[in-house]
């Protein structure tokens, strides 16, 4: 408990939430060209792993009477991570399971607040992590476009304008007024992808290769990704597919136990990571 207070103190000085709020404010384009789209400085995320977690006042009272404190261990999914991604760059993130890759994406997306350090994103993020999180299965596809769209920060007017295009891309014309609970997994994912990527974002976050729908739709997704790439959208890509990383990313960060083990041009970092995993698996 006491260490918890100390640390939250530090994070208040950093004012993490204000930094995270920044992406909502679009900086003028001329300004944006010069500044990196994503700047991460000395980012650490601290979790408290509760051994016997207090979940209720009753627990708390009993624990206090017995004079036992909530036992918790610190765990740092991310430690002192610093990365800068310039406009139009594609950053690859590799590492073993549990290395902190997904946590890093969530911090960039603003879902998890940094405990220490800072994250600055300039422009609009399209987080392709957990597609369709926030969908309500009792609402129709139409209603969910507005619900999910507004969770992603679009205004109702914008969504009305883009509505037809989203539905066409998701290939859901017939089912758009059907509640989502009657959709197949593929249909739901298609809708999520169509909403999230309808507008060119400034920063695209991709966690693993999302397998959305059938081969034809997958191709459509890939085409859209390619067009974003061609238009110079900045991308942060998390993947275990080293071949894909090697071919698409110029810059690669290898995370190991939450720290940056290697960072640099794709070939170097990937080779180092491969060497390491080969040696550790023997």
């Amino acid at each position: 408990m006491s260490s918890g207070r100390r640390l939250s103190h530090v994070s208040r000085f950093v004012q993490a939430s204000e930094v995270i709020d920044a992406p909502q404010v679009l900086t003028p384009p001329a300004h944006r060209e010069r500044l990196p789209v994503l700047e991460i400085e000395d980012l650490s995320v601290r979790l408290l792993l509760h051994r016997e977690r207090i979940r209720s006042i009753r627990d708390y009272a009993i624990r206090t009477l017995k004079r036992r404190r909530d036992k918790q261990d610190e765990f740092w999914p991310l430690r002192e991570v610093s990365v800068t991604v310039n406009s139009g760059e594609i950053l690859g993130i590799i590492g073993a399971n549990g290395a902190g890759k997904s946590t890093l994406l969530k911090v960039i997306a603003g879902i998890i607040p940094p405990s220490l350090g800072s994250v600055v994103v300039r422009g609009r993020i399209a987080p392709l992590i957990e597609l369709g999180a926030g969908f309500d299965s009792f609402l129709t596809g139409r209603e969910n476009i507005f619900l999910y769209g507004s969770l992603l920060g679009f205004s109702q007017k914008e969504l009305e304008k883009r509505f037809d295009r989203i539905v066409r891309f998701a290939e859901l014309d017939e089912f758009i007024d059907v509640p989502l609970m009657n959709y197949s997994v593929g249909m739901t994912a298609r809708l999520g992808f169509a909403i999230a990527t309808d507008v060119k974002p400034d920063l695209l976050l991709i966690d693993e290769l999302f397998s959305v729908g059938d081969a034809a739709f997958k191709k459509k997704c890939e085409e859209r990704m390619e067009s974003f790439k061609a238009k110079g959208v900045t991308i942060v890509l998390v993947s275990h597919d080293l071949k894909l990383i090697g071919s698409t990313c110029r810059k690669v960060v290898w995370l190991h136990h939450g720290r940056i083990a290697a960072a640099g041009p794709a070939d170097q970092a990937v080779v180092e990571y491969q060497k390491f995993s080969a040696s550790s698996s023997v």
Partner: protein, 227 residues
């Protein structure tokens, strides 16, 4: 659509029940149904708004874990939806006023002020209990019991005069009393709410909202680890 009908029917049914049970007991209150209904509208806004606000963060945990959203929208939505219900309930209220022969006076224009006070007060409490509920999940049971006690401690279905003098101080410590009395004045009495009740009520509501807002923002960055 039927869901909407229920929001109007619920206070109506409650009013009918209270009228049947208590209108003889409190026969010195003329137009007892209107007396009860007005206060019930305000009480429902407060109790449903804060109860839903209490659960709102935990229930929307899956969204908070996956998408970046300003977390305050959940308790705010919980309370605002009850304000919308309140506005719809004005329809049966006005019908009741017409049927029971209570006059429509220009003083009804005062209504927005007690409504704003009630909303701010409910929102402040919703933010507070919503925050606590993230960390202590059994707050809910305490709060529900508290709400019940609070309901009976507030002159909603009984006139304030029946409270013995030695307990009168409780009334003045009860913000809901001031808020509901300022709501009642223009509707039930056809009079302006006494400023000595209206203004302290508004001030207290704004203060509650400010405290709720500060506490919520103090803890909201930790929600992600608890939902």
């Amino acid at each position: 659509m039927f869901g909407f009908a229920w929001t109007v029917l619920n206070p109506l049914l409650a009013m009918v029940i209270f009228t049947m049970v208590f209108s003889r007991v409190f026969s010195n209150r003329p137009n007892y149904s209107l007396y009860v209904f007005t206060a019930l509208m305000g009480w429902n806004l407060f109790s449903s708004g804060t109860s839903r606000g209490l659960d709102s963060i935990v229930i929307n945990g899956p969204i908070i874990r996956k998408v970046f959203v300003p977390k305050a929208i959940f308790p705010v939505a919980a309370v605002v939806s009850q304000v919308v219900n309140f506005v719809f309930t004005l329809i049966p209220l006005f019908l009741l006023m017409a049927v029971s022969g209570a006059g429509f006076s220009l003083h009804l224009l005062w209504l927005p002020i007690p409504l704003v006070s009630l909303t701010c007060f409910a929102l402040g409490i919703a933010l507070l209990v919503g925050t606590f509920n993230v960390f202590f999940r059994d707050i809910k049971y305490f709060y529900e019991a508290g709400l019940l006690a609070w309901f009976y401690a507030t002159p909603i279905f009984y006139p304030p005069e029946i409270i013995p003098d030695k307990f009168k101080f409780l009334l003045h410590m009860n913000p809901m009393y001031a808020l509901l009395e300022s709501l009642r004045a223009p509707i039930y009495l056809g009079a302006a709410p006494p400023l000595g009740v209206l203004l302290p009520g508004l001030a207290l509501s704004l203060a509650t909202l400010a405290i709720g807002w500060i506490v919520f923002h103090r803890f909201e960055s930790r929600f992600i680890h608890y939902v």
